[in-house]
Subunit: 266 residues, 2 copies
């Protein structure tokens, strides 16, 4: 009964999110359907992060066990043959039976893309939040860096969130401008639901000058969701990468995460 760890990229535009739901198509549901077809029995799939509706992934990680013996490369081919083109399995590797995609994850990296110009490119409309008007990127980056380290992120949790512990450690929280695109990237040991989008909404309040940089610290210290900025829209958010300890993957080898370069400036 081999256990596999796979890396998955998806365009989240047309899905209800990672998690299986009664209504609508989910990435988890598609993978479980494809694996049930492959293994001729129901297969449960666990994902590292539950991306919400409209959120994308460059390198989501998932785990499952199969009854049949099959090579990892054949798993990639068999899944991609059964999945729609907006979901692609990038790689697969055998993992120890105890591998758990969610609990074993040591760090996750999210990226949020803002298109900051009067007119949004038609090629960016599914992959960036369109914010018109000048944004002070230096202030936004200064505010973003205030989140690095160990903090209680209760101010950025989903309204009505019931997570017991809201303290997380962020290894990096940085923002930069690349022409009309503003890119925020955050790496941490765990994220509350809507946390990245609430942070981005707060950063934009600072970037457009409605609030000073120090306001980020006040919001964080308040632990009050009502103090933070609005939740940024889902289309700008990407789950970039999930990191595991070396011994979490099979044979002590790190999985090669073959994330496609998303270059659209050819």
């Amino acid at each position: 009964m081999p256990t596999f760890k796979i890396t998955v990229a998806y365009d989240g535009t047309d899905f209800v999110g990672w998690q299986r739901q009664a209504n609508g198509v989910s990435i988890q549901g598609l993978l479980e359907g494809a694996l049930a077809d492959l293994d001729q029995r129901p297969v449960g799939v666990t994902g590292a992060g539950r991306t919400d509706a409209g959120v994308h992934a460059l390198g989501q990680v998932a785990g499952f066990s199969l009854a049949r013996r099959i090579e990892a490369e054949a798993v990639v081919r068999a899944l991609n043959a059964r999945l729609p083109p907006d979901v692609r399995v990038l790689s697969a590797a055998e993992a120890p039976p105890a591998f758990h995609a969610r609990f074993g994850a040591r760090a996750k990296t999210y990226r949020y893309r803002i298109w900051n110009a009067d007119v949004i490119s038609p090629f960016e409309r599914r992959y960036a939040w369109h914010v018109v008007g000048p944004l002070d990127v230096a202030s936004m980056d200064a505010a973003a860096r205030l989140l690095e380290g160990r903090h209680d992120f209760a101010a950025f949790r989903a309204a009505g969130g019931t997570t017991r512990t809201t303290t997380r450690t962020m290894a990096a929280s940085r923002l930069e401008r690349r022409d009309r695109l503003i890119v925020y990237e955050i790496t941490g040991d765990g994220f509350l639901r809507y946390m990245v989008r609430a942070i981005v909404g707060t950063l934009v309040e600072i970037g457009c000058g409605r609030r000073p940089v120090a306001w980020m610290g006040e919001v964080l210290a308040s632990r009050d969701r009502a103090r933070a900025g609005p939740t940024a829209s889902p289309e700008g958010l990407f789950l970039v990468r999930v990191d595991y300890d070396a011994n979490a993957t099979g044979s002590g080898l790190r999985l090669k995460v073959d994330v496609p370069a998303m270059s659209r400036e050819p």
Copy 2:
């Protein structure tokens, strides 16, 4: 009765092409509908190039005349407010009454994107042709350069094409690899229908080793469409830019073509 020249970007995935047709939604039809609403009378729109179904544009140029007096900037805003998000007017400028987007065009540049890897990124599936297996880019580029200069391109015209003259001059025809992406770009004074896609299909025959570089010259000299490679799929093709003589645009000024950087590697 001011005449305007506009630059338009569109994601061609969901359209029947530039040109108005009885069945399906066209870019020309959308623009004419939006302008009729703005000008309260039927408005005809002429495009520089008739992109086919599924083909994209970063900088298509179109022209039209309005009955009402209106600032160029207001034209941009009014059109974008009436167009779907996959079609965006990037800029507008007043042009001389004699301006003709198609006949006045001095040069056009097309780009064709090939995704050359086992698995295509979900974010590239609408914007690149997926070709699996090794491609010899040096040979493809050598063959592409054989098309530079003045030639009869009858071998690359649409089957059943009725264009009387098939001789065109290509200022540049180059190809390069950027990681998993192969980008072909061609600039010329005019293009036959399906010409770029037939050239790309021929280049891929050479790239995968089925034909030598010199075959491109033989195909070109044959003037026979049956000799060339298959027509590459539309999703990889972009109309990048249309150039006019300086006096074709209003006040002797060149229109600022504000093409969005399509960077997706942030």
